[in-house]
């Protein structure tokens, strides 16, 4: 069972999928509604415990969405078990929110989408905006009734890119959403400091640099469609029908950009490369560009 979409926002109405976002006002009025489950997903594994939206369950990407051994997500059985424990049914509306302008919330939304959970939305502005608006927060732990979530195998072919997919993709649009210092390769580790998780610095040749935060408005929500079009179509040069891959360091910031391109701007073929720089920057013999410009397409 799902709940109706939020049609209260003129900003949302401009996006290609307005129903992918909800406002705090809309959500507060529907807390506890049948068919609606609110999920908090944060960078900080303890933030939920300091206070969360009443009734919201926590989903931690490190400890719950990731496979504990292989660098991958949980499988169909693991996802079914997780969502069953969280009290989520296959046809429920899931509204996800979190810290850091919804980085991790967008990441969780992307993983839910790999399993084909259809109705999954973000709370615009995330946790900080909810709190800034003075909306209710509690430390009372919810006691969801377990559900019998079906075992659905993950489909990695449409929304996810592996390293080999990216190699084959070279020449088509790539969006690097990391900081300018990470992109140009100037950020290196000082001696005796732990290395940053990649052996080389720089970016994938031809990738455009569009740091993820450029999609965020001053109130912490997403920018308007017109503002987003100016950045991604205007500056980054994306055009209708493009096949696009977004990446960052481990795939969480690029989930945020993936959400923007896929659901707000309506690009059909957008994949998130979750291996991202921690894989690419350590892989043997993959091409790397440094400096502030995208660089040349390597000859093969």
């Amino acid at each position: 069972m799902s709940v109706e979409t939020d049609t209260s926002s003129a900003k949302f109405a401009e996006y290609s999928e307005p129903g992918r976002l909800v406002t705090g006002e809309w959500l507060e009025a529907r807390l506890g509604a049948p068919g609606l489950v609110v999920v908090e997903s944060d960078e900080d594994v303890l933030l939920y415990e300091t206070g969360h939206i009443p009734g919201a369950v926590k989903v931690d990407w490190h400890t719950e969405l990731n496979d504990p051994v292989v660098r991958d997500y949980v499988d169909g059985a693991g996802f079914a078990d997780l969502l069953g424990r969280k009290g989520i049914s296959r046809d429920d509306t899931v509204v996800i929110y979190g810290d850091k302008n919804n980085w991790w919330a967008a990441y969780a939304l992307w993983v839910f989408s790999l399993f084909g959970h259809e109705d999954v939305r973000l709370l615009d502005g995330g946790r900080d905006k909810w709190i800034a608006e003075g909306r209710p927060i509690t430390t009372d732990a919810p006691a969801p009734s377990p559900t019998d979530y079906p075992v659905v195998e993950r489909d990695d072919t449409v929304l996810r890119a592996y390293k080999d997919d990216v190699l084959a993709h070279l020449g088509k649009p790539l969006i690097d959403v990391r900081s300018p210092e990470e992109y140009d390769g100037s950020r290196t580790s000082a001696p005796a400091y732990p290395e940053e998780g990649a052996l080389r610095a720089g970016h994938i040749p031809t990738a455009q640099s569009v740091p993820w935060a450029r999609a965020v408005a001053s109130d912490g929500g997403f920018k308007s469609r017109a503002e987003l079009e100016a950045i991604y179509r205007g500056e980054a040069g994306l055009t209708e029908g493009d096949s696009i891959v977004a990446y960052c360091r481990i795939g969480e910031r690029s989930s945020h950009t993936w959400f923007v391109l896929k659901h707000l701007l309506g690009f059909q073929d957008v994949r998130n490369y979750d291996g991202s720089w921690t894989e690419w920057g350590s892989a043997v013999r993959v091409p790397i560009a440094t400096g502030p410009t995208p660089g040349e397409l390597p000859s093969r």
Binding site: V45, L46, T50, D128, Y193, P194
Partner: protein
């Protein structure tokens, strides 16, 4: 090798480690939350002056640490981290409580794998624990630098 590690760990940190290890895994997060609430304010001379402190780059949340070594060689550790980063605050609080009052030599002898030994790796994730490892390494480096002055 394991015995050497145990022998070098100061009693204060060993007690904290045992406190965590005595708990079942899910409850360890609650204890970390308690530590995060106990993180003391920094002394007035550092309050509002992150430029006097060192940013711990291994933590994704902004956390700053500064080490003082007094004339008797006794170390005190101070840390600043925002309320929105309770895990980072918890890590900092463990180190602040475990390190402050030790001699500089004792601090330098703390095994680098202490963060992996407190039973949080699975509950928190190895990547997050790396933040605490970075914090400890930087703390020791600051102490070493102050001794060299």
């Amino acid at each position: 090798m394991a015995e050497m590690t145990v022998a070098a760990l100061p009693e204060t940190l060993a007690e904290i480690r045992d406190e965590f290890l005595e708990l079942p895994e899910p409850d360890r997060l609650q204890l970390l939350l308690e530590f995060s609430r106990e993180l003391p304010d920094v002394p007035a001379k550092y309050d509002g002056h992150p430029e006097l402190c060192e940013r711990v780059a291994e933590c994704q949340s902004p956390v700053y640490i500064v080490m003082d070594v007094d004339d008797d060689g006794i170390v005190s550790m101070h840390a600043m981290a925002p309320a929105e980063a309770p895990t980072t605050r918890g890590f900092a609080s463990i180190l602040v409580q475990g390190i402050t009052g030790l001699t500089a030599d004792e601090v330098l002898a703390i095994p680098a794998d202490f963060p992996q030994s407190i039973g949080l790796t699975r509950a928190v994730s190895p990547l997050r624990i790396a933040g605490m490892t970075g914090m400890l390494m930087r703390a020791k480096r600051q102490v070493r630098a102050k001794l060299a002055v």
